[in-house]
Symmetry: D3
Subunit: 229 residues, 6 copies
């Protein structure tokens, strides 16, 4: 039943580009605190920040054959999202595959497994979020799937979904939700900008967010150190 789904729908590149300065935490909050991938997926170098559309690739443990197949399905602006069918930290991906993806305009790799050649990937400035760095390569024996929905880092990723990855981690935004999430994220950032200035000037969050009263209602007491029993 291994299958490669071709011609997946993608977001309009202009919509994607509007996300390009959004960070993961803001997008995650803006869509109701959903869609975050496991914090075990870390960037191989920092800082790094990419936004793009997901091409998904499901691989067998210790076998990167399908990544070679997935490359052909990638277009400029895509992000390759790879997950093994069972936990594996082998180095599925190195500088040759990165060269190939970079030649196709792919923006980065998100992989719930290991990668290698990280010194070269860093020099190439090809960003990768992975679960491990491991020199052990893989074989090419077992088929998998390309552009099927998969679970990567504990989150469901559909082909064509929008991926945002930065130093804090990775979040997936459903294709259909993108415009709404963008709007909410923009509102959130605008709101934060004003707060940052006030906080920098010394205004307390307790006052800025007006939470003193609610704290008191819940029963919070203040007591000087000198009055402890």
């Amino acid at each position: 039943m291994p299958v490669v789904i071709t011609d997946i729908p993608r977001l309009d590149p202009e919509v994607v580009s509007e996300f390009s300065d959004l960070d993961v935490a803001t997008a995650h909050e803006a869509q109701g605190r959903t869609g975050l991938l496991s914090s075990a997926l870390r960037p191989i170098y920092r800082p790094a920040h990419i936004v793009g559309t997901a091409v998904t690739c499901e691989v067998a443990p210790g076998d990167n054959w399908m990544i070679h197949v997935a490359v052909e399905q990638c277009q400029p602006g895509d992000i390759l999202v790879v997950a093994p069918t069972s936990p594996c930290e082998d180095g599925y991906f190195g500088d040759l595959l990165a060269t190939s993806l970079q030649a196709r305009g792919v923006r980065g790799l998100i992989i719930a497994a290991g990668v290698r050649d990280v010194a070269t990937l860093t020099e190439m400035q090809f960003p990768v979020w992975s679960k491990a760095i491991c020199a052990q390569g893989t074989v090419k024996e077992t088929l998998g799937n390309v552009n099927v929905p998969l679970i990567c880092g504990g989150a469901l990723v559909n082909p064509g979904d929008l991926m945002i990855a930065d130093d804090d981690g990775v979040v997936v935004v459903r294709r259909a939700d993108a415009p709404e999430v963008l709007k909410k994220a923009r509102a959130r950032l605008a709101n934060e900008a004003g707060k940052r200035e006030k906080l920098a000037s010394g205004v307390l969050g307790l006052d800025l967010y007006q939470i003193r009263e609610r704290l008191a209602e819940k029963g919070l007491r203040y007591r000087p150190y000198s009055e402890q029993g």
Copy 2:
């Protein structure tokens, strides 16, 4: 019973400043190899090195409400020390809270949980030692405590204790022990300085520390490779 203890006693800033060039390993040795926090607390960027007095904050899992409360209790020269009541790697702390702490002269954050906005925190040069980096934020529903003794990274931290954090980790020094620890640490460093020169010149530790005899007594033998069975 949630409580905020105010007006905690602090070390004289001059005493704190005398610690400012001490590293964690030296302080740890100087106080009899005690007080180290778990090595799972790592700096979000390196190099980083801070010394200051602890303001402690106990939070519920997935809830950073009390950090906002704790900010008000912080003074210039303090370090905020946060621990959840059960293990949690959510991103409790980001650039807005850091802005607020920096405005109050706080030197950094030590947290046995996760943080986010690490790219901005790095730009701001606000140092953080944390257990995780995670974009998932928190809610504001549950009370906790500020300036009570707590266990952070497996070590007991009292409000007003001296915290030292560097690339090797974090150590806590009891307020009352600080002068004695300082004296021993200085002696240790002076002693090491001479050793470093000798070792750099090629003198062996075996001779410098005069341990050949004790090794022999314990039964260590030397045998050429060619004489193995």
Copy 3:
């Protein structure tokens, strides 16, 4: 039975120097995908890349006495390989020991345990691959062994074996296998060089490696997104 084996055989420095530009992943592949140490051993700074001959040192948990003994057995071009007899993440090694090793021309440390003083080690550019960074030091009470075969990071290392360590991890090459591994690694690199150019020009791996037919034989199907059920 603790023993220090002296005068171990080493590879000719010229042979070692021929390996100096080989990366871990290539060497690992060239020797039939064997000899890799656990990916839990990470460099304390990046980039880092060393090649040298192993001096091995087996230590008790929480006790670095034998490292001081091992230093004397090291020669220029060596790499010190340390493993505890049971898992331990204490900081066995710091800047004083590094000073001593650097004075003897040792190229770096590989240790399946913890190290400390990493800020100074980074300044000194003394590369270390370790399982942890931990300020907690060790005692000097229990004997161990120097230059016996040991398991480090799950791989068998014999004294005199060739060690290669880079940003991807660490691999061990048996002394006797070194010439053969070198030959195969060179062939591999030559082969990759041509591929990199082609991939950069947009040639697909599917075509370059001629794997389309084998994928089809194994049953891989292609199906447009629009034709899904």
Copy 4:
């Protein structure tokens, strides 16, 4: 946006009952090796084996409020499937909740978090698969969702899906796929039964599965120990 979805569709109890002797491994193979939850979810006692329809419940870290809400949505033959929005090992569930579920005919609990009162749960023979056993309870402050699709143990579970759990772990079968999976699983078991007898009589798998030739084609060689170099 927290929501409770009521009146979810369920499989016909007769279809469910036909699965009652199927083990997790067989069902997993029968549906193309998909749908397995993480092996980190372990039964609190063994042996244990349940089959039923999923009622899903998404909870905040350290907060079991929504489990109380989910109980009302459960019917005889259901299995409650709980996942926190971020990793948490608190004891979300104990003997009181189990009493309530047992009163409603619920067959067990699958939870990607912690549980407590395991001695009583074992006496009650209320089976639970959990990520941890932890006496730390939870609060009731934050809303979540009931009967929305969620990721539990790295697998997508929809309300109404069929869950199978045994000593090997937990697998989810899509509601619509159940009849087909049942058919394939039955065929698989029938096939295995004959094999078991032959293997017990001493027939080798190499002959039974007729794989000697394929092994040889791939290059496997046999060599007596005495002829090694």
Copy 5:
């Protein structure tokens, strides 16, 4: 500075005996959800349930010398609480030490490290809560401390504190707090008993705890499956 503190104060055995049917979860709740040791400390067999006064013992990594010293400080009704100064999973404790403790009337062992001889310990019915089971023994070279306050499993334990351990984990109760905790725990159990009956009869927790209104206030909505978008 290694020290053995003798003649520690202990709770009246009658007070301890009143705790003998209390479980860990109840005691933990009764004292304001504090004092729980890490859930990584697991019983080596189940069921197991002990209550007693703590004799504390701090050991070096890989070195159980001080446990032999601690045995002499134990009295009938005590529980030995052991923590290493840095993480270590060696088997510090086996059937000989258990024989010695059992001869002195000690009720069990709580150790944030490893133990061995678990088959014999199970036969002897000497209960142990440990972080690991490991056949690797320890040496006797390095001093530690007996009956000093220590951190075990992330919780502070003072000599003479009350320890409760069962299948859910381990909790520490401060000596001075014991009477108050006992009272609250009893009230809690009485309260639960009535609830259990009602829940068993089919009354919903939503009604029993009267939380429907508060859920609605917080914004929880109910929606039939058939009305989803």
Copy 6:
């Protein structure tokens, strides 16, 4: 280069049978505290205790093909020892393979990976020490090696080595060392027997092992609780 080594040398069954009542901890001590496999390898049921000669099998991640090959190389009294070439927790082994091994007189399985069908394996009383229990099966695509030396659980195992496994873990004894280890283990057990009786009668280890003086020399002090500062 995949190879199956046939006709490996084995210990005389009578020598093996003399080990049949030896536990892992005793054998480990008797051979100088070496040869222990990682404590991450746990028995799937307890109690369990086997002794036998190793047939080794190196497998690819997620691929159990070579286990089928290894079965043919097994003889009565053997123990199958399996290690993957990179970390993998898939269920490599289930009841069919166990049936086949049991038919050949094999005593058990030691595997640094996952197994499944543990309920049936327990009923069959076929003992297994594994790193995980996981229902996810494996494929049959990639060759490996049988009866080559391999690293299993961090220890080197040669074909024909003696394996001992019990509730505490697994230890390997080199074939040539077996007689000497046996002698030392017997002496150790005889010595322990006398000690057990004395300890049970209340004699303290401090006196039995005569260590009071050495403790004092090292600087251990005793101080009554009431005299603390």
